[in-house]
Symmetry: C2
Subunit: 319 residues, 2 copies
């Protein structure tokens, strides 16, 4: 893959022949994972930390970095498509300069995020954190734990992540209750939560962060759950109220497994780290080996669509 030349050269250089498609990638791993591409695709490296390597880029693949500040680098750059590596796009409308088409990473993270949701839930149910702590003092301490089997599990969010979670729950002998922002056949609406929560021993939060879902998991939501229930959050930290979580965690009435928190990362020394009924992962939903081949598949598809004049997939915003 060509390494981006120093900026002065970029504006001076004459390309020997017109390329059909100019694509920027944030790193070399993705270039490797893309495999062979048609000769008419010019790949440049751009991590969006520096100014753009060209004023005219057909496809910009944005880096996998938290926040949206890097999107401001697109100011003055003509693009046909900006491909993000995130599924959530809260704050993108505010950060993206005008004139760009923005696609999210639908299809990339569902596998890995749903997998982490099950990892957190199964680990918490079956005592894995206790076993790790016991090993820390070089012993094993048998005890009984609640199975996931026979539990009623409320899956909050029926997008790709929610559906991928339900698919993975299916063989575990559970009773799944589906909830989404909008009620529909087989799916309860958020307004029904007060009636549904008292019988649910597990809640998995997989909704996007919107005005409607911000602080949805608040003190009242948690108070409606039965003693011993567990809440798994793999969505966004701000979907829940951290003070309300800490309140129910401190008494030991509820259990939590949180891949996302508010603030994020949770400050060193935060109270939630020391509670045995709280399991914290460092927003690792997408951070697995499952990501790269799925990003590569999506980018290849967008390249093919742009080259053949098709409509790109996953477009969620036009600025």
């Amino acid at each position: 893959m060509p390494v981006r030349p120093p900026r002065d050269e970029v504006v001076k250089v004459e390309r020997p022949e017109p390329t059909r498609l100019r694509v920027t990638l944030p790193g070399v791993e993705l270039a490797g994972a893309l495999g062979d591409l048609p000769g008419k695709v010019e790949l440049l490296r751009w991590d969006m930390a520096d100014p753009a390597p060209h004023h005219d880029i057909d496809l910009v693949v944005a880096p996998y970095l938290p926040g949206n500040a890097h999107l401001r680098r697109l100011d003055g750059v003509r693009t046909r498509l900006v491909q993000a590596q995130y599924l959530g796009y809260d704050g993108v409308a505010e950060a993206l300069p005008p004139g760009h088409v923005y696609a999210n990473a639908r299809g990339v993270h569902e596998t890995s995020t749903a997998e982490l949701a099950l990892a957190l839930l199964l680990a918490a149910q079956r005592g894995i954190p206790d076993f790790v702590r016991a090993a820390g003092v070089r012993r094993s301490e048998p005890a009984w734990y609640p199975s996931l089997a026979d539990r009623r599990v409320l899956v909050l969010g029926q997008g790709g992540v929610g559906r991928a979670i339900e698919a993975r729950l299916a063989p575990f002998e559970v009773d799944v209750v589906r909830v989404a922002r909008t009620a529909r056949e087989g799916v309860h609406g958020i307004a029904e939560l007060p009636r549904l929560l008292p019988s649910c021993e597990v809640v998995i939060v997989g909704v996007p962060l919107t005005a409607e879902t911000e602080q949805l998991v608040d003190a009242g939501f948690l108070a409606a759950l039965p003693d011993g229930a567990i809440i798994v959050n793999v969505a966004r930290g701000r979907v829940a109220d951290t003070a309300a979580i800490a309140g129910e965690a401190r008494t030991g009435r509820l259990r939590f497994a949180l891949d996302v928190t508010d603030p994020e990362p949770l400050p060193v020394g935060h109270e939630l780290f020391r509670l045995p009924n709280v399991l914290i992962s460092p927003h690792a939903g997408g951070m697995s080996s499952a990501m790269l081949p799925r990003v590569a598949r999506l980018v290849r598809r967008q390249i093919e669509l742009l080259m053949t004049g098709g409509e790109p997939v996953n477009v969620v915003l036009r600025s």
Copy 2:
């Protein structure tokens, strides 16, 4: 439930009318979970730590205790069926006095054991032990981990546990390789392991302990696996060679998640407890809330079969 009277009384007491079925249970929880039974069933409590409460018991439900020493209490007792709460019955033939019919707990532990296998595997793959240790020093430390998705998973053992594991793996986007003692359609035999292991990144051990499987997971087995592979054992500790495990764990070449060990429990201070690439659970496969309702369902079924003259299910030995 009647509490067992002191032994002297037992032999003297005259039952007011003949019961159709005399059943001993090791604890009160099971009696509660059985629910209503026909009036012709007499329930007695017997944990098999003391001599039998009667010389003639139709159904003895044995306690959920490791080892088989308690079975010697059946010497001189006439039974129609001895119902164990374990799936494995290694050593039972040696411990059971003559004249008894012994049923294992098929259908009771598969759910819970397969669930723990997935909990161990997912936790180890996605970094949960690291997150718990990081929380121990009050921080979170992001890192990339291998997903379960896209892995080739060898399931060793095609009994109830192996099938329950495969069912739970199915939605995780893995490639499952089935191996059992006997090759058959869709299932490889143990003899094919040397050819299969080099391409498998995950091995889940769910075979019963027999002369054929003892120390099956030895140094040669482990050496055939690719770097970074993980071995999950939810079968019996003696199916694997602990020295060979320690050897590959110490160098960090392989990873392990072990619900069973040899010796068991692993002695306090054992080397395996301090290796970050080894996750140890305390033979907790069956120790979950999933067990009691499934034991109760099996015992009810055996009671119904014995009362109606049917053949009991799950009979694995006649002594």
